[in-house]
């Protein structure tokens, strides 16, 4: 880019309050579009069930917004280009790489981070299985695996080992804990299946 800035792109939202935003270059023609930025703009994000107001430059990623503006540091910045899964969060229930998404594009969506899945005193079944199986070492990749594993189990409640590997294929662990992560996902699947369904 001529000015040398990354992600300094201008946002135009197609219609006020529309869920879908599109990223287009300066000078693109979109009727009735509003331009965000380049200076800080107010946004509101729905994170873990609560509406959070923040003011950020439009180029700020969802990951940066969560970590640096909302102090939700569970999602990690590791590769910053969608290659490792450590920043995985749920967007309307679907796992996404928060480093590849602009915060402004997450407006109007339900965002769930690892912090929203359980607390140290009230772990989700998958989080509890991670603890029991020792499915972590340094733990830096763990939030990404927990979020990706949660998304997998919601879609595939009793995954085979191959399905577990597929569901976690985008996540990297450098300590080499994959085997125990797979074990934890399958253990949580069993414990959830055994427990009486609520709601």
């Amino acid at each position: 880019m001529s000015n040398g800035f990354s992600r300094r792109s201008f946002l135009k939202t197609a219609g006020a309050g529309a869920a879908a935003t599109s990223l287009v270059g300066v000078g693109a023609r979109t009727e009735a579009a509003s331009v965000l930025g380049p200076g800080p703009v107010p946004l509101s994000l729905k994170v873990n069930g609560a509406v959070k107001a923040l003011t950020v430059e439009p180029r700020v990623t969802l990951l940066s917004a969560l970590r640096n503006h909302l102090d939700l540091t569970g999602a990690k910045e590791v590769c910053d280009r969608g290659g490792c899964g450590a920043c995985t969060v749920l967007l309307d229930g679907e796992p996404v790489a928060a480093c590849l998404m602009l915060a402004a594009d997450a407006v109007g969506h339900e965002i769930t981070t690892v912090e929203g899945l359980g607390t140290p005193d009230k772990l989700s079944p998958l989080q509890a299985a991670f603890v029991e199986c020792d499915a972590l070492q340094c733990g830096f990749c763990t939030p990404g695996f927990v979020v990706a594993g949660t998304a997998l189990l919601r879609k595939t409640p009793s995954p085979s080992l191959e399905q577990v590997k597929d569901g976690l294929a985008g996540n990297l662990c450098r300590c080499g804990t994959y085997g125990r992560v797979f074990e934890a996902v399958q253990k949580a699947a069993k414990s959830t299946a055994a427990a009486p369904r609520r709601g």
Partner: protein, 780 residues
């Protein structure tokens, strides 16, 4: 090879212990320092230690609540960003920071005083700004001009006599006694590489011999949390939150560089996102970012958070050197080795330290003639850093491949050839354990011929293009432990709560939990009853976590402090139970009369009787003592499947049989071993740092083209620990994190050969190399 400072003579006490391992116990007298405790041995009835306990911090980590250095935010904090050299060699003629300084939100700028650039990524400048985005913008606005010079980024090109010189001879680092020629420094013959006997004589006596050359590229550590710090000044007091393996190293390094008193520097590492050896320097081997962050914070009058980005992490925080290794082994007709000659060249970038002779020097110690020659070759690449058993996985890959090639020539089973030459009684025992666990008898008796193996239990229809094979290899490591200058503190409070303090950091090994288990053993509590506080230079000193020395340096002193607290709690309980303290025992949260377990008080009731608010016990590490074994033995077995049409190698299973003295926590110890096999498989099959020969910078400084093993590549990884008492301290602990990575590469390479009959001597074993080896094998 216990590493220990030569201390003044200390009075000793002699203990008789049942040492060794299950099936081979032996009575041994050990001389411990006065005041030390009798070591845990085969007769010890341990209730907590050697058990399995989930890590105490796991609930914080699985919920995203654990705050790593990367996650910490301080009021008024600025974001720092390093600027690295864009050229691999040259002189800096100008650094223009005016545009960066003019950018709104930029609060501080640093530039290097060094003028010579020797690798792309070397520190040039840095900025601190109000947001990470503005800091990134400012970093891009720093303009550096260079007088560029010729450079060399490839190992074999750097060895040529006409190669561009990375250093003028006078500036070349490394031992001045060692011969130097061009970019080559060596042979290093001191230390482990000293050798023995006369290899020329040994080869003359040999009935069979092999000589082969093996290659391995540079790997980067690639910890998921990049290197970085947060620096905060309060007057002359400096606090540094660091992603490090050695908080005391950071403290001392920062204090020295800034010319301030080290007692004014506090370093904190509560949780750490991986290091693997790269985080042992005050900053990193190829960057002074921690010092720079402290300077930026001082200049800006605000805390500065400076984390490297992924690109910088690959370039300047260390790597494992490349290696070009020639191994020659001679053997008599019965397979007994007559001579081993290991000659290696390798590049640690602009640094020395590329030796790979450790395994050749230590394995098969009955071989009468040994020569080890190691050479460092300088290239214009970032300096290496220790990476999990530095040089050993590489050296063992070469040595253990050559041993396999020799077995083929001798017509011997490779495992039998190793048994024949084995010098470690521990490894002899491990061979049986491992062979059984992998099913060694299933392997192809003739490499590449599946009809000579037993793959499917008699099922005659294996897929034609896919071939399975089983191989094995050995590894060695040493017992490193700090025998002094390590402390621990245990506080028992009046309410019965217990705190344990150690300055050493938990780098993801489960150190915190293991120490809680040691204290819990002494106090008769559960690990979760102990609040463990680690990773703060305000706590009793601990070692840097390198050389697999943390647990065995700290566990013995934790035991001493906890034992002191136990003695005091038992004295309080004695009055309560109307018994003598020596009649009491503690377990399950209770103190009881050993002969009448019904006669008991709770730990809490006993603690409530203390005179003040706290029983505070501080202990100092006693010396490491002479021991049964001073090495750490391991052997690994691998099963692979090779697609002979595509050249793809798929890992099926791997079994590690490793010694670590007494494993404190079986659960986390196994995780470490399994992780080592996975990291080793990643090196064997995928990892390769590529420096562009035309640009001199790294081609793949990310996590998708610098490929590390991912979930879809996973295999069944089995860790079998063979506990050995006594490793030389009161807990019988030894190291684990590194030895279990040493055999991995060789075991996988040998399995690929067993599957295909094709020998791949260059790592990683990517499909192109496997196909090439297959076509060469067909021609032969």
């Amino acid at each position: 090879m216990a590493q220990e400072q030569k201390a003044k003579e200390v009075p000793t006490v002699t203990f008789t212990v049942k040492a060794g391992w299950e099936g081979a116990p032996r009575t041994l007298e050990v001389k411990a320092a006065e005041g030390d405790l009798k070591p845990w041995d085969l007769d010890s009835k341990l209730r907590v230690v050697k058990g399995r306990h989930p890590r105490l911090e796991a609930p914080l980590k699985v919920t995203g609540r654990a705050k790593y250095t990367y996650d910490i935010s301080l009021p008024g904090m600025l974001w720092g960003r390093m600027v690295g050299a864009e050229v691999p060699a040259g002189e800096i003629t100008k650094i223009d920071t005016s545009k960066a300084e003019a950018l709104p939100g930029v609060k501080a700028v640093w530039t290097t005083e060094a003028r010579t650039v020797r690798f792309a990524g070397q520190d040039v400048a840095a900025v601190a700004a109000v947001s990470p985005e503005v800091a990134e913008d400012a970093a891009r606005l720093v303009q550096v001009t260079y007088d560029e010079k010729p450079y060399v980024t490839e190992l074999e090109k750097a060895m040529a006599t006409d190669a561009p010189l990375v250093y003028e001879e006078a500036q070349m680092p490394g031992n001045k006694e060692v011969p130097r020629r061009g970019n080559v420094l060596g042979p290093q013959r001191g230390g482990r590489g000293a050798g023995r006997g006369d290899v020329a004589k040994g080869f003359a006596e040999a009935a069979f011999e092999v000589e082969q050359t093996y290659r391995i590229p540079v790997h980067t550590h690639s910890p998921l949390e990049t290197h970085g710090v947060i620096a905060r000044w309060e007057g002359d007091q400096l606090t540094v939150y660091a992603s490090t393996q050695g908080i005391f190293t950071v403290r001392d390094g920062v204090a020295e560089a800034l010319g301030i008193d080290r007692k004014n520097v506090r370093v904190i590492t509560e949780h750490m996102g991986g290091g693997f050896g790269s985080k042992l320097a005050p900053s990193a081997t190829g960057s002074a970012f921690a010092i720079v962050a402290c300077r930026l914070a001082k200049q800006a009058g605000a805390p500065v958070k400076l984390m490297l980005n992924r690109h910088q992490e690959h370039l300047c925080t260390g790597n494992a050197p490349s290696a070009l290794m020639t191994v020659r082994i001679g053997a008599a007709k019965d397979g007994a080795f007559t001579a081993v000659h290991h000659r290696s060249f390798g590049s640690a970038g602009i640094a020395p330290g590329a030796g790979t002779g450790g395994p050749a020097s230590s394995l098969y110690a009955n071989t009468p003639n040994l020569k080890v020659e190691e050479h460092d070759v300088f290239i214009n690449g970032g300096p290496a850093a220790p990476l999990r058993a530095p040089g050993h996985p590489q050296g063992a890959f070469a040595l253990e491949s050559a041993v396999d090639e020799l077995a083929e020539k001798l017509g011997m089973d490779p495992l039998e050839l190793r048994r024949k030459n084995e010098s470690s009684p521990v490894r002899l025992m491990q061979y049986d354990v491992g062979a059984k666990a992998i099913g060694w008898e299933r392997r192809n008796k003739k490499a590449g011929d599946p009809t000579t193996g037993n793959w499917l239990g008699g099922d005659p229809a294996p897929p034609r293009s896919k071939k399975r094979g089983i191989g094995m290899a050995n590894g060695n490591w040493y017992v490193f432990a700090r025998g002094s200058g390590v402390g621990a503190q245990v506080k028992v409070h009046r309410d019965g709560s217990v705190e344990l303090f150690s300055g050493a950091q938990d780098i993801g090994t489960g150190f915190r939990t293991a120490m809680a288990m040691v204290a819990a053993e002494e106090l008769g509590l559960r690990p979760e009853d102990i609040t463990v506080r680690v990773g703060d230079t305000g706590f009793p000193e601990g070692p840097a976590s390198g050389g697999s020395n943390t647990t065995n340096s700290v566990a013995p002193v934790v035991r001493l402090a906890a034992h002191d607290a136990r003695t005091k709690v038992l004295a309080l309980a004695a009055a309560l139970l109307k018994a003598k303290p020596e009649e009491l025992d503690a377990a399950g949260g209770k103190v009881f009369v050993a002969a009448q377990p019904g006669k008991s008080a709770t730990f809490r009731q006993a603690a409530a009787r203390m005179a003040g608010e706290v029983i505070d016990c501080v202990a100092e590490r006693k010396k490491q003592y002479e021991t049964l074994r001073q090495d750490i033995a391991g052997t690994q077995f691998a099963e692979v499947e090779v697609d002979t049409e595509t050249g793809e190698v798929r890992m099926v299973k791997m079994v590690s049989v490793n010694d670590c003295g007494f494993p404190v926590n079986g659960l986390t110890a196994e995780s470490q071993v399994i992780g080592a096999m996975i990291q080793g498989a990643s090196w064997a099959l995928f990892e390769n740092r590529i420096l562009d020969r035309n640009l001199g910078t790294m081609v793949n400084p990310n996590l998708e083209s610098y490929k590390i093993l991912a979930p879809r590549d996973m295999f069944e990884a089995v860790s079998i620990l063979t506990p050995v008492a006594n490793a030389g301290n009161n807990t019988s602990t030894a190291g684990l994190g590194e030895p279990c990575l040493v055999p991995t590469l060789g075991a996988i390479a040998n399995a690929v050969y067993n599957a295909t009959g094709a020998r791949v001597r260059t790592l990683p074993m990517t499909p192109d190399r496997v196909l090439l080896a297959l076509s060469e094998a067909r021609r032969a």
